[in-house]
């Protein structure tokens, strides 16, 4: 049971337990003062807050942010996009997984100001224009790849990214590259089946 596979360095998007733990250690360090934490592009709004521009699910948003705010809290509390869930706030569970410029990240470990000028996609943004479900969402229903549903948005975001990363080649590979997303309900068999079902449909789409 190889839970912390050595991850090839050419797959920055993959979320597995080891890199997440490194991230968690960093997050536990005291927060740097705003001037250091914020990337150069974010504008100081004058009251200790920073003005950032994000594209969220295709929509341009200008926000004035507490520099300490995580992307997760910003999505949930600031934009009322509560699909991404908080299961640990330490990069250890994957429930908060979103896409940042198409790559999966733990949004709890990503400062919102780091997303300045970038595109964020959340679970609310993966269905098609006409509201038709994304093939991965449909496959999760068809294979009952969920129980309580709390990890589900993160699992789906990770699964979509995993297919795009070309990591859906085999059951073993899927299991490795999904191992950063915990499901306490134990829906793993259904999630694997859902990914195997949706991957060819995504490629064909």
């Amino acid at each position: 049971m190889d839970r912390t596979p050595d991850e090839p360095s050419d797959t920055p998007g993959a979320v597995s337990r080891r890199p997440l733990m490194i991230g968690a250690a960093l997050a536990a360090a005291p927060l740097a003062p705003p001037g250091i934490a914020a990337p150069a592009r974010a504008q100081d709004a004058g009251d200790g807050r920073l003005r950032v521009n994000l594209t969220v699910n295709g929509e341009a948003r200008q926000l004035s942010l507490d520099p300490r705010a995580s992307l997760l809290d910003t999505l949930r509390e600031g934009l009322a996009l509560t699909g991404a869930k908080k299961g640990c706030d330490h990069g250890q569970c994957g429930a908060c997984t979103v896409h940042l410029d198409g790559r999966r990240v733990a949004s709890c470990l990503t400062l919102a100001v780091q997303a300045d000028g970038r595109a964020v996609t959340t679970i609310e943004g993966v269905a098609r224009e006409d509201d038709e479900l994304h093939p991965m969402q449909q496959a999760f229903i068809d294979h009952d790849a969920l129980q309580c549903g709390y990890c589900t948005p993160g699992q789906i975001m990770a699964a979509i990214a995993l297919v795009r990363e070309g990591r859906a080649g085999s059951a073993e590979e899927i299991r490795e590259y999904m191992s950063g997303n915990l499901c306490r309900c134990g829906a793993y068999a259904g999630i694997l089946a859902a990914i195997q079902d949706a991957a060819p449909k995504m490629r064909g789409a």
């Binding site: 049971m1 705010a69 509560t82 869930k85 679970i123 009952d144 969920l146 793993y188």
Partner: protein, 729 residues
């Protein structure tokens, strides 16, 4: 309705879940919401003699800090197993006493989560530490024999059947062994979270829970207000697993802060704090003595247990409910003791007693099979019970043998060679095949169900129960669909929130056997009421023909043998379930697990590539969600056997690995193929639809099946969980 199997159907709330649209408690995000964070004690026991919140109060955006110095008036909730509502009897922040490491000592409320977290970090407390004990093995421990304790009897009396001592003395074969199970944490991915808000003197609490009514009545007690002034909303919980079965310690703090600030307050207990902020599975020790005759008939079993409890509560145990009834053994003696530790009160975690007890008993039964040179499946079949050995009453249904036979066939058990270490994979890995069985009481809670049919054909069913992922909404919809011919899109299921029907605790695997029969009887009542209306094609047309806008019926249902007084307990949020022993019969669900492990010969790494599990939970009402629940239970068994332990350092108290990287849950890469199957035979003696419970039996027996498979692969009997690589090196 019990005659035929139910069809496969999608999970009722799956659409919302895959869209991220389902609202859990902490998903209430509104302008004006205040955010709260806890500061906790860093000693294992002691007294707060000075607390300084000045720095916290000075953080921009911080609006309120509560400590024991200013939480005057809040009363303790009472212990859920002692006539109260709380997971433990004490309420943090109501006195300077610290009973365990991680106990909250301050609540900081601010305009943003960031300010609240920073404020909580800045709370300074001077604590006078006192000596503490945090393990079962602590010298001079305060040990309470449950039989001599004030805990209610006969519920928590020692179980005695026949004369175990004499039968053991006469036994041709005796197995004696001690087993250890560590403390573990339920760890649902949704953390303990509450949004509290007051409007015109009425408190509304949103919290993912298994027991909305206990939160309501417990808060009424704590705040000394009428329960009618409190509403608790919990339409969906992000997992519970026993942790969310009662009023938590943080809830009243959020409510009190919301009252003082006159704005809604959201408190999401951090993951590290959840490890000390709610209950946990207590560490336990099991001494087993098993006697059998030369033919392999088990004749005597003695099961003695020690289990952690807190200094302030007696968390009772019922480990011997499983061991006394798993087989037809005529002589049994149980003795259960509680060891007082300086911890928060332990509590229920999926299959709280049955999983550790099955690990002990089923490991010994496997050992017996090897002493006899007898196939482990055949030995189990030969010792099946014809009637309940404790009461002598018949089982309402018992299909354990069927589980074993079907599982063995599907797994290919006949290809197993008996000798340890005799099977190898092509890559050189040692292969081990193990089996174990499990049981879990088929309990039932009282329920009130209210069913309303509208003239547009829509149906609303309210009943006492909580959806936490097990599929209760889907099961209820399946019944309504079958009985009333209404399609799922026209069904609304109202569960988990107080106000309409009383919300009994959903735990102990009694959810389905509680709400499905109640829904079924509500359908009877509705159909009877419709009979009085003019005949027409569909129920909705009959309503329209009669000029009625709607028809509503209400039924109240108790478990077999329950007195009418239980409805009063139901209405006041107290646990009121019955079973497994009913007046005429005894009811259990059963399961058999067949496990393959592979042990890599040099590193001794253990993998579980394949498990076959066959369960008897009566009639399966929702086949798709039931299969997921059974697989999930198997995943839990894998975690318990090979991964999960809440580490304790006796010097410091508390739990060391209080996060999801260090408290190791099973991940995708740990899980191989899990094949599940149901006997799907209704149990109409227990209730007319014939349903029993599934959520917990699913897990019982997985850990010993894995341990037995490890023995088969390696020849080593491992009696302490979790099994680790170093145990095999």
């Amino acid at each position: 309705m019990s005659d035929t199997s139910f069809p496969d159907a999608p999970r009722a709330d799956a659409q919302d879940k895959v869209r991220g649209a389902l609202r859990y408690a902490a998903d209430d995000a509104r302008p004006g919401m205040a955010h709260a964070a806890l500061a906790v004690a860093a000693v294992a026991r002691g007294t707060v003699w000075r607390i300084d919140a000045a720095a916290a109060r000075a953080v921009p955006g911080v609006r309120l800090v509560l400590t024991h110095e200013d939480l005057g008036g809040v009363k303790p909730p009472g212990f859920i197993m002692g006539g109260g509502y709380g997971f433990q009897s004490i309420q943090p922040l109501t006195s300077p006493q610290v009973a365990y490491r991680g106990q909250p000592i301050a609540l900081v409320v601010a305009d943003s989560p960031e300010a609240a977290a920073e404020g909580a970090r800045l709370v300074r407390a001077d604590l006078a530490a006192e000596p503490h004990q945090v393990t079962l093995d602590t010298p001079e421990a305060d040990i309470v024999a449950q039989a001599d304790s004030p805990l209610p009897k006969p519920m928590f009396a020692d179980v005695t059947v026949g004369d175990a001592a004499a039968a053991l003395a006469d036994a041709a074969i005796r197995i004696e062994a001690e087993f250890r199970h560590p403390a573990q944490h339920q760890s649902p991915i949704e953390m303990l979270s509450t949004v509290a808000e007051w409007r015109d003197g009425h408190l509304t609490v949103q919290e993912g829970t298994q027991n909305a009514e206990a939160i309501r009545h417990g808060l009424a007690r704590q705040l000394e207000i009428e329960p009618a002034r409190i509403t608790v909303l919990s339409p969906s919980a992000g997992g519970g697993f026993g942790q969310k079965n009662s009023l938590q310690a943080h809830t009243v703090l959020a409510a009190e802060a919301a009252r003082r600030l006159e704005r809604p307050v959201k408190l999401v207990v951090s993951r590290a704090q959840v490890f000390h902020g709610g209950s946990f599975r207590p560490a336990s020790r099991h001494r087993i003595r098993l006697g059998a005759d030369a033919e392999g008939r088990m004749t005597a079993l003695v099961h003695e247990t020690d289990s952690q409890t807190s200094r302030h509560d007696l968390f009772p145990t019922q480990y011997t409910e499983l061991s006394s009834r798993l087989y037809g053994i005529g002589n049994f003696r149980g003795r259960e003791r509680l060891v007082r530790n300086d911890v928060q009160t332990p509590g229920y975690m999926r299959a709280p007693y049955e999983h550790p007890a099955a690990f002990a008993v089923e490991s010994c039964v496997d050992e017996l099979a090897y002493r006899l040179g007898r196939d482990p499946v055949a030995l189990r079949l030969a010792n099946d019970a014809a009637a309940d050995p404790v009461t002598g009453r018949p089982y309402s249904s018992r299909h354990l043998a069927e589980c074993l036979r079907r599982g063995a066939a599907r797994f290919g058990w006949e290809r197993r060679s008996m000798a340890p270490g005799s099977m190898r994979a092509a890559d050189g890995a040692l292969v081990g095949w193990g089996v174990a069985i499990g049981a879990y009481k088929a309990a039932t809670a009282p329920a009130v169900a209210r069913l309303r049919l509208l003239d547009d054909g829509t149906v609303t069913l309210g009943v006492g129960g909580h959806e936490m992922g097990q599929g209760m909404r889907t099961a209820i919809a399946a019944v309504l669909q079958r009985r009333l011919g209404v399609d799922p899109g026209r069904i609304t299921v109202e569960i988990g929130s107080t106000g309409a029907t009383p919300q009994h605790l959903t735990a102990g695997s009694w959810g389905t056997a509680t709400v499905v029969p109640a829904t079924d009887e509500a359908c009877d009542a509705l159909l009877r009421a419709l009979d009085a209306l003019p005949a027409s094609r569909t129920p909705a047309e009959r309503l329209r023909a009669a000029g009625r806008a709607f028809l509503e019926v209400e039924v109240s249902r108790r478990a077999p043998g329950q007195p009418e007084a239980v409805i009063g307990r139901l209405a006041t949020g107290l646990p009121a379930a019955a079973g497994p022993a009913y007046p005429e019969f005894v009811s259990f669900s059963h399961v058999a697990h067949f496990v393959e492990v592979r042990v890599e010969p040099t590193t001794c790494r253990i993998r579980v590539p394949r498990i076959v599990s066959v369960a008897d939970c009566g009639r399966v009402v929702s086949p798709r969600t039931a299969a997921s629940q059974l697989r999930g239970g198997v995943v839990w068994g894998i975690g318990a056997a090979l991964r999960e332990v809440s580490e304790v350092d006796p010097r410091h108290g508390g739990f060391l690995n209080a996060d999801l990287a260090e408290y190791v849950l099973p991940v995708h890469a740990d899980i191989g193929t899990i094949e599940v199957e149901f006997v799907d035979e209704p149990d109409p003696r227990l209730n007319r639809p014939g349903v029993k419970g599934l959520g917990e039996v699913a897990m019982v027996g997985v850990a010993p099946a894995i341990a037995n498979a490890v023995h088969h692969a390696t020849g080593k009997r491992l009696r302490s969980l979790p099994i680790r690589v170093e145990d095999l090196l």
